[in-house]
Symmetry: D2
Subunit: 306 residues, 4 copies
């Protein structure tokens, strides 16, 4: 495995077309696009990495997997009255679908859906409390108390968050927000600003590898059925309107973030975190996707074969 990762790392180092670093969040635009890291965590406890696997980055939309898991724990299937579970066929920040479908987001991984999920888990609490709960859950998943929030990124998003504010107010206009829009957005922007490195992120995804049990800690996080369903949502919707492409090329459930990270899950086999800041035109990590494609070619981990 280490050889495979080294090989991937070397290949990625040589790539000249690395995509574009997200520029709509000023703080993200500062990140050096030359960086690359990958970590593979196996159920038997082994962890392999290549590149700067201890460098922190902003997990951004990958956090949506964790908040969805919290929401399912708190509300169960009632979550699905707030968001759907179909691919939208539209970009991550599109508002068209909301107008056509009474303000109900298609799935929990487009921005509107993730904002609705945050609203669902707040349950009358203050942003600080909800945020603390999210952070605590992520630390628990990764078994790492050092995980925190990059306040600069959070502030950076606040000052440029008009698109998300539009989504939130639009849902509010349909009576779909139970808390003040600015509180929900504040929580959402901070959740997206959680900083993790590939080591931490791969560990945090372990519970999705083994039917709900984190084999590193031995703790059951969710039921087997729920773990499978979260994986199905990641596959169907985890890369926005590039989800079909990711399934075609990589063949693993995965969730990307505009910080350049991707968390991918090979059920029964591994939790994989990859990071490279340059994005493709849809907003998914360009080299991250290529690295996962290489990894799956070497390991045969696609869920579409055996």
């Amino acid at each position: 495995m280490q050889d495979i990762l080294n090989d991937i790392y070397t290949t990625m180092l040589s790539r000249t077309d690395r995509g574009q670093v997200a520029n709509y969040i000023p703080q993200l635009a500062c990140v050096n696009p030359e960086q690359f890291a990958i970590t593979v965590a196996l159920p038997d406890g082994q962890v392999f990495s290549a590149g700067c696997a201890e460098t922190l980055f902003s997990i951004q939309s990958i956090s949506k997997v964790f908040t969805l898991t919290i929401a399912l724990g708190k509300l169960g299937d009632a979550v699905w009255s707030r968001v759907g579970r179909e691919p939208s066929g539209d970009p991550f920040n599109s508002i068209v679908q909301l107008e056509h479908e009474n303000g109900k987001p298609r799935n929990p991984f487009i921005n509107a859906g993730a904002i609705a999920v945050v609203d669902a888990i707040m349950m009358g609490h203050q942003p600080r409390e909800t945020l603390g709960e999210i952070l605590q859950f992520v630390r628990f998943l990764a078994n790492d108390e050092s995980i925190g929030i990059d306040e600069k990124v959070a502030q950076s998003e606040l000052t440029t968050g008009d698109r998300n504010a539009a989504l939130a107010h639009f849902m509010a206009a349909y009576g779909r927000m139970k808390h003040p829009v600015d509180q929900v957005l504040g929580t959402y922007f901070h959740q997206c600003a959680i900083s993790m490195n590939c080591l931490q992120l791969a560990k945090a995804g372990m519970f999705l590898v083994s039917d709900g049990v984190n084999k590193h800690t031995g703790i059951r996080v969710v039921s087997a059925q729920r773990a499978r369903r979260i994986n199905s949502l990641m596959l169907m919707c985890g890369h926005y309107d590039g989800s079909g492409e990711f399934a075609y090329r990589v063949g693993l459930p995965g969730k990307s973030g505009v910080g350049g990270g991707i968390l991918a899950v090979a059920p029964g086999k591994a939790s994989i975190a990859v990071w490279s800041p340059g994005l493709d035109s849809i907003g998914n990590s360009k080299l991250g996707t290529e690295a996962l494609e290489m990894l799956v070619q070497h390991t045969g981990w696609s869920i579409f074969g055996h």
Copy 2:
């Protein structure tokens, strides 16, 4: 396995809400909605069935899997210049996406995409020849020379095919049809009118179970990579705007048809055909989906767990 299928069959027999038989194709509207069949074909050669597994039904859109496979064999990746590989988020017969995206269908499993695939594989031949080629390929896959076309259904579609004619002419207006629209539609309507039973259909899907090799015949049909990619497309787009729901509930690549059939693939484990004519509001077999959900609960075959 036989016990499981018997159990499923008994449960389905007792269902009172069986959905609606497709009524827009007159010939399909005549089918008795009380029927149910399921077949599970294993790589080791064993085949299990329950219900009327030898009753023929119209495979309709399930045929799109076979024509896509032919097209990939003939054109390779050039297929993707004709159709995309993303979920559309729209109903199977929607035309809106075509106007927004220069007449290029989002994927090969919506109607527009399947029509474009037929046009791609015609390559200057007459409808009769192309149709013969499709039929021959399906017979080869199922290892059954008796498979044929229900001419009544084909005629029935011709007389009610205005929606598909609109899709074809619309693509033609963007210069995307290489053959006369009526010839392509004639071929398409006949391809959809192929009649198979669950036994035949499960066998025809075997090549997708074992990375491209039909273990019953020992013949490699496509490469491992291609088999996986076809599976990924079935998962992402095989149930139209109900694909997310199917992935969430069943967790297997599958392709439905408005005749009430579903072909599902459990990679490495089984090819499954199920049939019940009643459809849900999106156009997928209602009991068929429920039966597959039960089967996966009993067997743990979801690709999202291990």
Copy 3:
């Protein structure tokens, strides 16, 4: 003329289907739907009324005519870099068109367009100052210093303004707002809360009757060309996705508000204000439209005949 108005008034009194009072702004929902008023102001100074023509109502979107006039005065044709001048074919509060056209509203009379116009005329000033300017202009047009703002209505809109907030933030996300969204919205909500009666409103429209000159005061307000262009925009876009219907039935440039008022202009002949709080399904005054239809039938004032 007085006989005609009396006749219209009597007819409207007998109507039982009066439409629905706007209920999304709580303060407007309290208005008694039984009320009706009409005023016709002629260039020769004569003014005729029937019904409660001195009862104040919330002019709401009719204010958009006045802010557009201000914007054209301040920015000239540069206004058209901020908003278009085509009917949108969508409801007044739709956001779909904005996403398809880079955040530029189709015209100044849909909500998004009117918000963009307010942003355009603020020019660095505070909401209070801009609001003062708008109010001053309306008083000048109507030659009536008593016109004011209904603060209760303005507050009522603030608490329910999520849809408009979504529109404003969405435009801001495209870099199209020069001032803070909450300041623009605050100004916009107050502008909509201007209270006028039919007498005042008819007088305020006089400048559009006589090619830019208010014949009652003798003052030229805008050039002849500009008056005609404002009239053309009122005809094309003044009743949202009911503009075609209004042109067909009434045949006069007009602008409606969800308070139930309509300002209509018969070039060379009269300025007409009508008010009845009940709205049709599109959001235009039901009886107001019917009254104008009767008036035009009696007077032959349609701009489409002679």
Copy 4:
């Protein structure tokens, strides 16, 4: 008047940017873009022209005014169960609106609407008979028996009519076509291929100038109300998604065709035909619009002033 037209003609001669001749109908692409003609017909019988006012051109969509008039005569208000009367906000050949609104075209002047109107007036007759009726009506309006159809243009449209075929089949799929699609399209393509010159076209529009009476012949063609309503539809929808622009700049009801012609009506004042083959990006005659703008500036004929 002759001086004004000469002045306009001279100005137009000097224009270098003449737009693009329609290239999607091969036969139209052959027309020399340097040509220009204008005719103004007054109710008192006077007719003024400049340029090649006797050169025939393809009236294309201008024919939709005549078929709508026939349909209103045959069906009365029942026409409005087939088509709406609102601007669509979309291009002339868009299909999106049809899918969103159950296959009912927004208005009779977009292609889908005009096709629906043809279907409405066929009433069981053959294309040849319907076409004869349309041609006879146009000859009657223009008081000129020499008007005919350019068969080459009609054939040219048939071979490139996929977009219109898509619209027709799409409506048929909603049960909105009473006759075979190919018969309706054949009639429609021939109707669009009627050849007229500016002299004939201006005369054919006379009945819309004087409240339904053609003052040149003294014959009442339609009621005053109907003439006004047709004018309102021309203003609102006559230039597709450029109707707002035309109303803003010219201020007259008008109908354009991709052959480069425009018929404009100044109620009570004149019927105007203008022709120049080059089109703007929306599909309306570029110089034709500019010429009308000049004419209205000189004459003050805008319906939005007095």
